[in-house]
Amino acid sequence: MDFNLTEDRRMLAETLNRYLADQYGAAHREQVAYAAPFHDPQKWREIADLGILQALAPETAGGFGGAGFDITVVFEALGRALCPEPVLPTLMASRLLAAAGVEQGALLDGTMRYGVGLGELESPYALDQIETHAENGRLSGRKSVIYGGNDADRFLVAARNGPGIAVYEVLATDAQVKGYGLIDGGGAAELFLENTPARLLMEDAGGAVNDALDAGALALCGEAVGLMDVTLQTLLEYLRTRKQFGRTIGSFQALQHRVVDMVTEIEQSRSITILAASRMGADDQSRSVSMAKNLIGRTAKLVAEETIQMHGGIAMTWEAPVSHYAKRLTMLDHQLGDTDEHLERVMAGYVKSQAAPG
C-alpha cells in the first residue's frame, strides 16, 4: 500500500501548480473568466505546451497518461487555481475519440478545441431519454450547457441512431452555436441542430459515452478536492485574523467544531476520489465514480455554505476570492450527475444484485 504519487505525477502536479500560481492569479482569473471568451486563449496554449492535455490521454491515443490518477492530479491543480480553461471537455473528447479510433493530435496539443454535448435539458445526466437524433447522417435536436462550447471548433454529440446511442462530430461552423458565461466563471454554449451535417464516429456508443462521463465525473471530483483545500485554508486564515468581541473568531468553539467537521468530510472526499481513481478501467469503475461524485457533492455543498457563513458578509462580495471558490464548489454538482443522481446509481446496484447469490 502506498498513497504517494509517482515521481512523474508529482512533477506534473508541481509544474501545473507553479504555472497557475504564477500566471493565473485571482485577479487574472476574475478578468478572463467572466467575459467572452470566458477563458484566456493565450494561457490555454501555454497550458497545452506544458503537456497537461497529453497527460490526460494514454500513449495509444498520443498522450502519456490517461490513468485515473493522471486525471485527478491535473484537475486537483486546476481546482486549486479555480482555472476556467476548458480542460474538462478536452478530457471527455479525448476518451470518445480514442474509443472511436480517431486521431486526436490536434486536440492534445491544444490547437483544436472540442465541446462535448451528451445530455440534454430534460435528461441532463442519464442519456436514455435524449431526443437529438440522426436521419440520413444529419442531426436534429438541441444540446444545452456544453462546457467550453462557446469557444469550440468542433462538437462531439450523442444522438439516437435507431435503437442505440451514437456519437457524431459536428463542426461549429455547420451549426448554430450560442455561447454565454457561467455563474461560476468559464463559458458554455447551446448547440442547435437542425438537419445539421455530421460525421458518424461511433455506433452503439453507450459504453464509450459512459466511460467519458465517468472520466469527466472523476475529473470534477479531483477539481473539487483542490477547490476545497484552498477554500479551507482561506477560511482558517480568516478565522485566525478576524476579530470580534475582542478576540479572533477562530477561538470560538461554535466555529471550531464546524471547521473540524469540514476537515473530516474533506479527508473523506479525498479518500473516495483516490478510490475512484484507482478503479478506472476496473469492473466497478462506474459504481466507484458514482460513490465519489455523491460524497463530493455533499461535501462541496457543506464546504461552500459553511465557508460563506463563517466569513460573514465579506464572502458575500464579488471582491473576495473565496466567494468564487464557493460558487464553483456549488455549481460543479450540476455537471455530469448531481449528488442525488449518483446516489440513485449506487442504489440501482442493490436491485441488480438481487439476482446474484449472497
Partner: protein, 395 residues
Amino acid sequence: MDLNFTPQEAAFQAEVRTFLRDNLPAEFARAVRDGDELPKALMEEWHAILNGQGWLATTWPKEFGGPGWTPVQRHIFEEECARANAPRIVPFGLAMLGPVLQKFGTPAQQAEYLPRILDGTDWWCQGYSEPGAGSDLASLKTRAMRDGDDYVINGQKTWTTLGQYANRIFCLVRTQTEGKPQAGISFILVDVDTPGIEMRPIRLIEGGYEVNEVFFTDVRVPASRLVGQENEGWTIAKFLLTHERTNIAGVGFSMQALDELKALARRIRRNAKPLIENPLFAARLAQAEIDLEAMKITNLRMLVRAREQGGPGPETSILKIKGTVVRQALNDLSRRALGPAAAPFPSEDLLGNASLVPEEHARNAARYFNNRKLSIFGGSNEIQRNILTKAMLEL
C-alpha cells in the same frame, strides 16, 4: 498510489482467514453476531486460542511476547476478526496497560504483570472516569495519600467496563492538589480484592450490564504499584488514550454490519417488495455505504501515515468521529429495517422463544441503544473535535 496490499500482506490476510476458519468456534461467532452478552469464560477461551497462536497482544513488540506486527498487519487482523464475528479482544490489559508498562514501567513491573496479561491470569479494568470527571478527565478527585510505604486511596471511579470480571484495576489518582489539575495526577495499579473496594453494577440504557461504579474507602496500596513518577500520571493517561484510539475507526465492524444490513433488507419485505428496493431506505443505505467506502481509505491512509511517522497522530481523531458515526448510522438503519419486530425487550423468556423473534434479531434494538456509547467513550466526539482543533488548525 497503490491501494493493494503487498504480496506479504495479502499472504498474511489469507493466513488470518484460514486461522479464523479453523479456530473460531461457531458458537462464539454466532453469539457475537447476535449481540449476546459474552460470558467471561468465552472471552477467556478466545484469548487463550489467540495466545496459543501468538496473536493475542497485537500491539506488543516481539521482546514482550507480541507478534511484532506492522500497523497494516494489525489492521488486517482486526478487520478479518470483525468480519468473522470473532469476540473482541478485551483491551484493558492487552491494548492499554501493556503498552503503558512497556514504556513507563520498571523492569520488575514488566516482569510481574506482562506475562500474566498474556496467559489470562490477570483481568484488568480501567479506573479513569469519575462522576465529576468525564470529558474533563484532569479534574478527577480520587485521592491517594502517601502513608509510609503505601498509598491510601479514597474516592470513586465509574464506567469501569467489565470490572465485574477483573481482579486488577489501573487507576488515575490525585497525589497533589496544588498547581494545574494535570500536574497532580499519578497512575497506580490496584488489586480489586483489596479491602475497601466495592464494585457496583450500572444497568445500561438497553438493560445490559457491562460497566460499573468502583468505590474506594481507605484502600491501602503499596507504593511499588505506582507506574512512572508520582504526579506524572497525566503523560501516561494521554499515552494510553492514544492507544485506545487505535482501531477506533472500527471499519471491520462496520463492514460486517453493512453486509448483515443488506442481507436483512433483502429478506424483509415492505409493500410487496424487498425493503432494499424502497427508495428512501436504499438512499440512506447507499449514503452509509459510500461513507464507509471512503472511511476504509481514510483509515488506510492514516495507517500508512502512522507507519511513516512512527505512531498515530492527532488525525486519528477523524477516524474516531467519522468511524463511530458511520457505525451508528448502520445500527440505526438495521433497527428501523426490522419494523415492529425490533420492539420486544430481549428477555431470557423471549430469547428462548424463537417463534416470536428470530434469535439474530432479538438484540437488534438493544445493540442500537448500546452503541450510542461509541460517540461518547474514548474521548467523546466533541473532545475529538477539540483535539483536532488544537493539533491541526492553529486557531
